[in-house]
Symmetry: C2
DNA sequence: ACAGAGGTAAAACGCTCGTGGTACATTGGT
DNA sequence: ACCAATGTACCACGAGCGTTTTACCTCTGT
């Protein structure tokens, strides 16, 4: 059973992804959620509250999809994410850029996502090389971020190139 | 001598970079430019026209700064860009994400930037390896995009890691 | 000396925004 | 049978949006 709150969050996430945060009106969001504005405000408090909740939910979903332990699994997961949802650049970065700076709830959600992302890379490094390697983890992070950005206009080519790059970087350090 | 139009563009660019496009009001922009709204509209036509002009100007500046021919020069240029302007993620990607999709002037400016970026990578590949290599160019593009994104929260570490990654990828293909 | 270009300040346009209020419908548990 | 919870539709608020208008000022070249 899905609660109304969950329905609001899951149905507004793609709207934010497609149109951004500042430029979209609450009425378009309520329409997408199939819910009255009164209900939306009762569950989310404010538009900012909704944005924070959407980012939190996305982070949770992300953490499930990217619970991987090798470079190949990482880019398999990214490829299927891009295939099923498209790519419009990192939603957390975009949220921060649209005046999310200074909004505590948004900043917190973004910070949590970034820590998660870093942990994913560190654990892949551990599994692939049998130890910690801060530089390699940073490199994988950069390549992954680059793939999500570049995929928005280069498509799967960017993901494939990122996968090859990451593999080659791991080999170079073992 | 700098024209009023140039002054408007150069002084509003950092405001867009800091606060985004949709969320910032024209009055904040005129204030930053030190210009009346009448003058701004006479020179730029509309807020959208201003955004397109700002993106065009940024692309020009970018093309001057990144007129490089080696991987090291590329990341030297990026490092000093990040040092002097900070990093908040690719402004072109962000412009598109804030409902720039479907706005012809914005889409055009972004497309031109991306072609430029791709040409820069291809010419570096040419110089570094003595020939064309589509995969390597795509990899450098990904690494560069990743560095600009990741630098927004990892700082110069991301740029350094990207530089090392790019160098290693070039070596692996020569 | 004066025309014209290019600037200013201030107000107002119609519209949309985020948010809350009011009043009514549906439904499940006891 | 009915209460409480949870939803709806609809309207109103004050604020801010992008944009245009009106009226005035200040240079600069001839």
């Amino acid at each position: 059973m899905t609660t109304t709150r969950e329905r609001i969050i899951t149905s507004t996430e793609p709207v934010f992804d497609a149109h951004g945060f500042a430029g979209i009106g609450v009425d378009r969001l309520t329409e997408a959620a199939g819910v009255s504005s009164r209900t939306l405000y009762k569950h989310m408090g404010s538009k900012t509250g909704l944005i924070a909740a959407v980012l939190d939910a996305r982070r949770d979903r992300f953490s499930r999809v990217f619970a991987v332990s090798t470079v190949d699994e990482l880019f398999d997961a990214l490829a299927s994410w891009v295939r099923s949802e498209g790519a419009r650049g990192c939603l957390f970065l975009r949220a921060l850029g649209e005046d999310g700076h200074g909004v505590a709830e948004v900043e917190h959600a973004v910070a949590e996502y970034r820590e998660l992302l870093h942990r994913v890379m560190a654990s892949i490094v551990e599994r692939e090389t049998g130890g910690a390697d801060e530089l390699l983890a940073e490199q994988l992070l950069v390549v992954f971020e680059g793939a999500t950005s570049a995929a928005s206009y280069r498509g799967q080519r960017a993901v494939d190139a990122a996968r090859a790059a990451a593999r080659s970087l791991v080999v170079a350090r073992t």
